[in-house]
């Protein structure tokens, strides 16, 4: 996008008259105008109800009732004010502060929700369900992007997340159906992810085939293979092969009764709890352990690691296999948690969205976690809105997660910096 110039070391911060980027203020201004026209002028003349807890919960919070017109105008005016602040900041020669963009995003979301729910036939939405559902939908995305973190931090681009998820889903369905145990299915899913990863590792590390091409080929291979087995075996005798038991939801007593947060954190299946554990463990291990230091070194400057006696390709191989375990477990979500049974190409490009979450989250496990949550939220919002019967056509709503992905990755990332040697095979000498 812009030229990067080598700077002399120790050169101080930007002097006056810096090269200004008007991208952010322009985007914010356009969105603020949209908000004024749609949320403000186009606001529906009724009240919008956000339900904060289920009537059967132990602690029941009162419903939040907002007048659509007033809320719409209020958010729109505040958005416009923020856009003006952004313009002023750039005119002064400094960058738009991050908090400003964050506040803008939250306000825009509130305005949008009020408007879209208010315009629906039934202006009443369960906010707690919307949030909990987002987390549930984000589970495979989070596993997928963690798989990407493990692999890319060590220097191997993992386009095969999609294939790992799909093969994990397939293996979980078959193994759980045959054995009658969802836990067996979970292990089978991890193994399936490793198989895909093994192929990725052998071809990209041992035989130095272009990593992106191997990844895409693996995705197509898994799609074809599972599709074939689905039509020739699974659908012929679904009773034996494709009726896995579901993983039970394990509610933690008391804690799961906390309003809004309870269902998100303490009312999950094993896969859901594993997801939280994986994010924390991978984060700590990556930045605080010997393994993490070596992984990052191998992904940033493999030759430096090699000259210090670290075996670069072995490190990478192990990381890619580990990435397969993580993505495979994520795949089990589709057949053991979400629905009971495998369907052709049921991952539907979630692996690629996970890749986007990885980039948006700046190759950081926690960043990837929140990015995946955002995409999960967009997906769930489109589901909920289509149920409410909004004036927005269904097709547009289903585009929402992808539009959010494109904007997030292209626009708001700022300078997201990939590991230095990601995608570059290491050859000695």
């Amino acid at each position: 996008m812009s030229t990067v110039t080598t700077a002399a070391p120790g050169r101080s911060a930007a002097p006056a008259g810096a090269v200004r980027s008007w991208k952010t203020p322009i985007l914010l201004s356009v969105l603020a105008v949209v908000a004024l026209l749609v949320f403000g002028a186009g606001a529906p003349r009724n009240n919008v109800t956000f339900r904060l807890s289920d009537p059967n919960d132990a602690i029941v919070l009162p419903d939040l009732v907002l007048p659509a017109v007033a809320t719409g105008w209020l958010t729109a005016v505040m958005l416009a004010a923020l856009a003006v602040l952004a313009v002023l900041a750039v005119r002064r020669g400094s960058a738009v502060p991050v908090w400003l963009v964050a506040v803008f995003a939250v306000l825009f979301l509130i305005g949008f929700l009020t408007w879209v729910v208010g315009s629906a036939n039934n202006p009443n939405v369960a906010l707690y369900g919307l949030l909990a559902g987002s987390v549930t939908l984000a589970v495979p995305l989070i596993f997928g992007s963690l798989s990407g973190v493990l692999s890319e931090r060590s220097g191997v681009v993992n386009i095969a997340i999609e294939g790992q998820l799909l093969f994990g889903a397939f293996a979980a369905a078959v193994a759980a159906s045959v054995s009658g145990s969802a836990i067996v299915g979970l292990f089978a899913a991890a193994l399936a992810g490793v198989i895909v990863s093994f192929l990725l590792a052998v071809f990209s590390i041992r035989y130095i085939v272009n990593q992106v091409i191997v990844g895409v080929v693996l995705n197509v291979l898994v799609s074809g293979l599972t599709g074939f087995l689905f039509s020739s075996v699974l659908s012929k005798d679904a009773e034996t092969w494709n009726s896995p038991p579901r993983l039970p939801v394990l509610s933690i007593p008391v804690l799961s009764e906390i309003p809004i947060l309870g269902p998100i954190l303490f009312e999950q299946t094993i896969v859901g709890y594993l997801m939280y554990i994986a994010v924390a463990v991978i984060y700590v291990a990556l930045f605080r352990s010997r393994w993490g230091l070596r992984t990052r070194a191998v992904g940033e400057h493999p030759k430096a690691a090699d000259t210090l006696g670290v075996n670069v390709n072995r490190m990478r191989f192990m990381n890619v296999l580990l990435a397969g375990v993580v993505a495979g477990v994520g795949g089990s979500f589709f057949t053991l948690v979400s629905v009971s049974g495998f369907g052709r190409d049921m991952t539907a490009g979630q692996g690629y969205i996970a890749l986007a979450a990885l980039i948006f989250g700046r190759w950081n496990p926690i960043g990837a976690f929140f990015a995946a949550l955002l995409f999960g939220f967009a997906t769930n919002l489109s589901n909920v809105l289509s149920l409410l019967g909004t004036p927005v056509p269904d097709q547009f709503l289903r585009m929402l997660p992808y539009v959010v992905t494109v904007f997030a990755v292209a626009g708001l990332v700022g300078r997201s910096r990939a590991p230095g040697a990601s995608g570059i095979p290491y050859v000695k000498g």
């Binding site: 812009s2 030229t3 990067v4 110039t5 080598t6 700077a7 002399a8 070391p9 120790g10 050169r11 930007a14 002097p15 008259g17 810096a18 090269v19 200004r20 020669g93 700590v284 291990a285 605080r288 352990s289 010997r290 393994w291 993490g292 230091l293 070596r294 990052r296 070194a297 940033e300 400057h301 030759k303 430096a304 690691a305 090699d306 000259t307 210090l308 006696g309 670290v310 230095g420 000695k428 000498g429």
Partner: protein, 514 residues
């Protein structure tokens, strides 16, 4: 520790990089390896460091044979290496870089960096390194990064330290500091293998000098040997180290730069308010340490930079804001600093590379077609004139050696009448023999009445070619001084002192010595 190499041979296919090399490094000794680029110095050191396996020969550590299957084993035997291109992970802290591969681990496999930090501070204090263990490496100046590399070796208890072309990236002041550090290390009983092609430095620090040419040891010398003696040993024939050039006869000023400012994407002024003139028939050399705006300056003149303000005029025509093609058609010849990436298309033939700037003009093109016979004939002439060593005109340019690639670039740029000639690092990585030739060509162009601008980070080259010297520091001009200015003054200017201050300080120091 005594280190001995016996009959080391390293072949890559049919290429013999090292041919039965014998070398003995005694404890507490600085042993210099002198040789041109491509002579096989780095290969030999990579063999010693376990990065390559020797085809034949043995390595003896304290008179016992040793084999190193990897750098880890070489380090365990007490060999440390500071590579020419630093082996540091740029986004890591100093402590993380030092710990890597040798980490101390606490409970649960978590890193314990505090021990590493203590060791870094210890070594840093002992040798006066002034290195902060928690600084991010990519934010450190090159000279400090090099010290981190030395610390890495010392933390691993290196007894023999291999320094591969360590001064190539340093300012004259940093170079002096490094030579001082080498003295301290030697006093501590460490042995140092110093690899260089800079005769002055080699003479200054060595106890023993071994000269390598085309993979073979061609002789050893005492540090007292004269530079011409060493140079002819290195090149294999007598070379004249000082260029014979007539004094400049500057004509009218045809090239002027006024208030030129180039901003990087982040707003930094990488070139900051430069103004200078070059007259017909004179060479202005732009000196300075790498990364002080030289690249951006030349690229701004060529039209390769965005965010440029000010004015650049050639024969009264404004060049700023014109396309690169326009600038070339105005008669500007340009040798970029990285010939393999910017100067040539490596996969194209030598003949094609020789007409890259005129492929669409007569006589090389007629209508929509190119004329291979004419292009081939042109190539034969240029190859003969510039003595380009290539198998044929149709060989891919990327297969040529550095010096020959540079000759191709120069031949192309000099093949049409020029109103301005700009060369960035014209002889970087070029063998001594070719340097002589290329320098003569540049001076010939000057004598033909072309204004010439040379950008070089090598002070030797600057002093050799320049009629006037402009020193850049952080994008600013520290002054324009005559060609006979002393190295000390130039060194101070390259470190950010204005010409008059530098001159005053240098005179003062000189006065103090007497």
């Amino acid at each position: 520790m005594k280190l001995e190499l016996k009959g080391i041979t390293k072949r890559f296919g049919s290429l013999v990089a090292n041919d039965h090399i014998d070398l003995v490094v005694e404890p507490g000794q600085v042993h210099s390896l002198l040789g041109e680029n491509g002579a096989g110095k780095s290969t030999l050191m990579n063999v010693l460091y376990g990065l390559y396996q020797p085809t034949e020969g043995t390595i003896l550590v304290n008179d016992k044979p040793a084999t190193f299957s990897g750098p880890g084993e070489a380090m365990a035997s007490g060999i440390g290496m500071v590579h020419q291109h630093f082996m540091l992970v740029p986004v890591f802290t100093v402590a993380e870089n030092v710990a890597l591969g040798n980490e101390s681990v606490g409970a649960g496999g978590l890193l314990n960096l505090s021990e590493t930090r203590t060791r870094i501070r210890q070594i840093s204090d002992q040798y006066g390194f002034d290195v902060d263990p928690d600084a991010i490496v990519e934010e450190l100046p090159v000279g400090v990064q090099q010290r981190v590399e030395i610390i890495k070796a010392l933390v691993r208890d290196a007894e023999v330290l291999i320094l591969d072309e360590p001064t190539a990236v340093l300012t004259p002041k940093e170079t002096d500091e490094l030579l001082g550090i080498m003295g301290q290390l030697k006093a501590d009983g460490k042995s140092i293998v110093f690899i260089s092609h800079k005769l002055r430095e080699v003479k200054a620090v060595s106890d023993v000098i071994t000269v390598i040419r085309r993979g073979k040891v061609v002789g050893t010398a005492e540090p007292g040997a004269s530079t011409t003696e060493l140079a002819s040993l290195m090149v294999g024939r007598s070379v004249s180290l000082t260029l014979q050039k007539a004094p400049a006869a500057p004509g009218e000023v045809t090239f002027s730069v006024r208030d030129l400012t180039v901003r990087a994407a982040n707003g930094q002024h990488v070139v900051d308010g430069l103004s200078f003139d070059i007259a017909k028939g004179e060479i202005l050399a732009i000196a300075g340490v790498q990364g002080n705006g030289q690249t951006e300056l030349t690229e701004a003149i060529m039209g390769l930079q965005e965010h440029v303000s000010g004015s650049i005029t050639l024969d009264g025509e404004e060049l700023l804001g014109r396309s690169v093609r326009d600038v070339i058609k105005e008669g500007v010849g340009f040798v970029p600093e990285d010939r393999s990436v910017e100067g040539l298309v490596g996969t194209f033939s030598v003949a094609e590379n020789l007409i890259l700037n005129r492929y669409d003009e007569a006589p090389f093109a007629r209508g929509l077609t190119m004329r291979p016979a004419v292009i081939e004939k042109n190539a034969q002439e240029k190859i003969a004139e510039y003595d380009v060593r290539t198998q044929s005109a149709s060989a891919a340019a990327g297969t040529l050696s550095g010096g020959n690639q540079q000759k191709v670039v120069m031949a192309r740029e000099f093949s049409r009448p020029l109103k301005l000639f700009i060369a960035s690092q014209p002889t970087r990585g070029v063998d001594v023999g070719s340097i002589e030739f290329l320098h003569k060509r540049i001076v010939a162009e000057r004598d033909g009445g072309t204004p010439v601008m040379i950008v070089s980070t090598e002070l030797d080259e600057v002093l050799e070619l320049a009629d006037r010297i402009a020193v850049l520091y952080r994008g600013r001009l520290m002054g324009i001084v005559p060609a006979d200015t002393s190295r000390d003054v130039l060194g101070l200017m390259m470190a950010g002192m204005h010409a008059d201050e530098a001159l005053a300080q240098a005179t003062e120091l000189q006065g103090g010595d007497q």
